[in-house]
Amino acid sequence: MNGKILTFILNHHIFGVDITVVKEINRNVEYTPVPQANEHIAGLFNMRGQIVTLMDLEKLFGYHQNHKSLKTSCLILKPEAGETDIVGFLIDKPGDVVDIKEEWCELPPANVSSLEGKYLRELVKLDDKLVMILDVQKIIQVQ
């Protein structure tokens, strides 16, 4: 894709999302876990009176969580038109906004077979690092 992406760090990996789908970044959120919810739902939090569902991408991608890091930063996505439920992703650390060009991008190589491969849209080769661009649509449709 061409355009700007917002990068963030999760479990020592660098991910990116199309910046146009991001509403805001919140630090120090206090979210409430919801018992009985699906595993990848970290919990709910109150963002100025609106309920935000936070997703735990580590769980979704099947990363090993050996240390119970208490994440407090999250990335809130813009709800689509007609959608009332707001979704956020828990992240370790927000990164930068990066301009990317189509020619730097590539579809995930065939050997990216782990769970996250399912949710990747493409890979971006920057000078010093690889950024995995998430397919946000696919992630928020996980039931």
Partner: protein, 724 residues
């Protein structure tokens, strides 16, 4: 076509206008003064015509113009109102409504038929109309003026988009949270900052008021739905050849907008039922000595924090025998079940799926779907439906509704650090069970935990099991609970939903809180135990528990309708001699072993023999700042008496309704939970209810009430002797 937005405004306005016209037309029937009414109608049709002309909606203009002509004649008292005119105007109005609803297609609607009829009215009038009265004209002009001032008043309300109101509500409640946080954090500095106190108080007050006002904006009078029913009744009555008059009361009662909207369908159904099944044909009514015109009443009123809406008719009533018959036919119940059922329970079967008592399936109602849908819809709103009926006199359907959906009173509870909100509607009471409190002890039937509460057994569900906070295997859990129940206080919420009743054990109970219900995010739709989300006073979110969901989650099979016959059931339970009983086993001076039900024991005290004081021939001890008479069972029962060898005794204080009395025992042997095969025949005496073999010993069961009665009888005899 012109700007979409303006068109939408026109549709909103015209719809209101059409409703005004309809209501007005229906009122023209009455004998009361019609001039105000006709002005309102005329104004409405006129403004529809005007605006439609602006948008170039020719057909609407044409029809509105024709109606206006007829109405103008009526307004000027040049035409007498009769049913025929009103019918024609009503059907024209319907056509107008159709065109407004489908504005884009309105040009293709055929309105010629309506135009002809309206024109026909005018023609008929012209032939008979030659004289005009001046005085009438003057009068009409005057009242027109009056009507105009009224219209200025109604300008003080405006249309606001609902989503804007919802946003406002959200912000207002957020403001309340912000205020709470502000007050909390400023608490420490109140004294240090001069002048801050009144400012905080001011913010506090204004915020509260703001929230209240915003809540009020969502309230609407029930008139909004009631007003469509005069038409429904009129049409139905005509169709069925019945004479029906609708009376409405309490149309000003206000309910939350969302409730008002959801009420329309159930109410329409009940009204249709009332006219179709309730009100009899005029001939039948006359024979029964009733007035020919049937009465259907719609009444809204406040009662105890709820709004009730009664739909009543003075028709035939519901024949309970027919319900019984149908219920058996459809296999809902057996004849034997019916005998045990109370009238209310039988009537409640009307709300079961697939139940219809109408003999003939008609166009209007009686398709066997209906009342169950009504009940389900009302339940969705957090309300209930009740039926009262008297054969030959009429029927009342009562809808009991919460004032508002958005804010509900609820109890905040905690389990393993998770806070939940439980709607108060479902909560019957809160029970704290301490160890040793025998009347409501927790017991185990295999692995199932039950609470004995007022002689009923209540299944207990632990919320922590439901939400899956811990997943230990069942036996271990049970052992844990049995073990810890000796030194732990268990808090049990007694919950009722429909006919289901169960206890929900939680760790902590916080305050009651009025919570703002927010819908469950779709990502949590698979959690059937929640009905929504809310934000608590501290700004954190909490899940709202759905007790129906919890009940179905546990897959408990609830007995249907235990409401009426629980009394009988519990009697059966104690009369069944082969039953589990919790017993206190003790001895009195000699070797006989006595037992009494733990449920009868209030407490057991250990005393020194020297504490017993003799007053007359009776013995007393000091107990709780007062004196307590103590009796020795061996004085009254056919058991052996031996001199005391110990220097301490036990006083068993039974639970009695009337008197406070203690029973002296020399030895408390045990408390046992055993299956007792009580034998009432072999050892019989007053004060004993029977005997049984427990742990290879014959054990006598005390009949505490009888024993105490015997002890008090001697007192009375003594008194009597004194008087003589």
């Amino acid at each position: 076509m012109q700007n979409e937005e303006f068109i939408q405004d026109f549709i909103d306005e015209a719809t209101t206008g059409i409703e005004t016209i309809e209501a007005g037309l229906l009122n023209l029937n009455g004998d009361n003064d019609i001039s105000d009414n006709i002005h309102a109608i005329f104004r409405a049709i006129h403004s529809i015509k005007g605006t439609a002309g602006f948008f170039g909606l020719k057909k609407i203009v044409e029809l509105a113009h024709a109606m206006e002509n007829v109405l103008g004649e009526i307004r000027n008292n040049k035409m007498a109102v009769n049913n025929n005119i009103i019918d024609i105007l009503l059907t024209s109005n319907d056509c107008l409504r159709f065109m407004v609803d489908n504005v884009k297609e309105s040009e293709n609607v055929t309105i010629q038929e309506h135009l002809n009829k309206l024109a026909g009215l005018l023609d008929a009038k012209k032939t008979s109309d030659m004289q005009t009265d001046r005085a009438q004209n003057v009068q009409a002009a005057e009242s027109f003026k009056a009507a105009e001032t009224e219209s200025k008043l109604s300008d003080s309300s405006i249309r606001v988009n609902v989503s804007l109101l919802n946003g406002l509500l959200n912000l207002a409640s957020e403001m309340v949270l912000g205020r709470n946080q502000l007050l909390r954090s400023m608490e420490a500095h109140r004294k240090n900052i001069p002048g801050i106190d009144p400012i905080l108080q001011n913010i506090d007050r204004i915020t509260t008021e703001l929230q209240e006002k915003v809540m009020q904006t969502r309230m609407q009078p029930v008139a909004n739905i009631f007003n469509r029913f005069p038409r429904v009744i009129r049409d139905l009555a005509k169709q069925l050849n019945k004479n029906v008059q609708l009376y409405m009361e309490g149309t000003e009662v206000e309910l939350d907008k969302s409730i008002i909207e959801a009420l329309s369908e159930p109410l329409t159904h009940l009204i249709r039922n009332a006219v179709d099944h309730g009100i009899e044909l005029p001939a039948v009514r006359e024979k029964a000595g009733k007035s020919v015109t049937g009465r259907v009443m719609l009444k809204a009123y406040h009662e105890g924090g709820h709004v009730n809406i009664d739909v009543s008719d003075d028709g035939a009533g519901i024949n309970i025998e027919i319900i019984k018959q149908k219920a058996i036919e459809k296999g809902f119940v057996t004849a034997a079940d019916l005998l045990a059922m109370k009238e209310q329970e039988i009537l409640r079967m009307l709300f079961k799926q697939g139940f219809s008592t109408a003999d003939n399936v008609s166009d209007i109602s009686g398709r066997g779907v209906g009342l169950d849908v009504v009940a389900a819809n009302i339940a969705k709103l957090g309300g209930t439906v009740e039926v009262y009926t008297e054969l030959g006199k009429g029927t009342i359907f009562r809808l009991i509704l919460p004032l508002t959906l958005a804010i509900i009173p609820s109890l905040i509870v905690e389990v393993k650090g998770h806070k939940f909100a439980l709607p108060q509607v479902n909560l019957q009471k809160v029970v704290r069970v301490k160890s040793g409190d025998s009347s409501k002890r927790i017991e185990f039937i295999n692995n199932a935990e039950v609470l004995r509460l007022r002689n009923k057994l209540l299944p207990i569900i632990h919320l922590e099991d439901i939400i899956g906070v811990c997943s230990v295997d069942n036996n271990k859990l049970k052992a844990n609970r049995e073990d810890s129940s000796t030194d732990r206080i268990t808090r049990i919420l007694v919950i009722r939903t429909g006919s289901k009743r169960f206890g929900l054990a939680v760790d902590r109970i916080y305050d009651e809180e009025e919570i703002l219900v927010k819908p469950l995010p779709k990502y949590l739709k698979n959690c059937i135990c929640y009905s929504g989300v809310t934000i608590l006073g501290d700004g954190k979110t909490a899940m709202i528990l759905d007790v129906d969901g919890i009940a179905s989650f546990t897959r408990m099979e609830f007995m249907e309708e235990p409401t009426g016959n629980t009394e009988e059931q519990s009697v059966e339970y104690t009369e069944n001699n082969k039953s589990m009983r919790k017993l206190l086993i003790f001895k009195c001076s000699a070797n006989e072993i006595l037992a009494m039900d733990m449920s009868m024991v209030s407490r057991v005290e250990k005393i020194e023999c020297s504490e017993i004081e003799k007053i007359g021939d009776k013995e007393y001890i000091k107990y709780l700042d007062g004196s307590l008479r103590v009796i020795r069972p061996e004085d009254y029962l056919p058991i052996n008496k031996e001199p005391l060898t110990r220097n301490h005794l036990y006083v068993i204080i039974p639970k009695l309704r009337t008197s406070l009395i203690g029973i002296l025992a020399t030895e408390i042997r045990d408390t046992l939970e055993v299956e007792v095969h009580q034998n009432e025949a072999s050892i019989k005496s007053r004060g004993l209810s029977g005997s049984a073999i427990i742990n290879h010993r014959i054990t006598l069961f005390l009949d505490v009430n009888e024993l105490v009665e015997m002890a008090e009888k001697t007192k009375c005899d003594y008194k009597g002797a004194e008087v003589v």
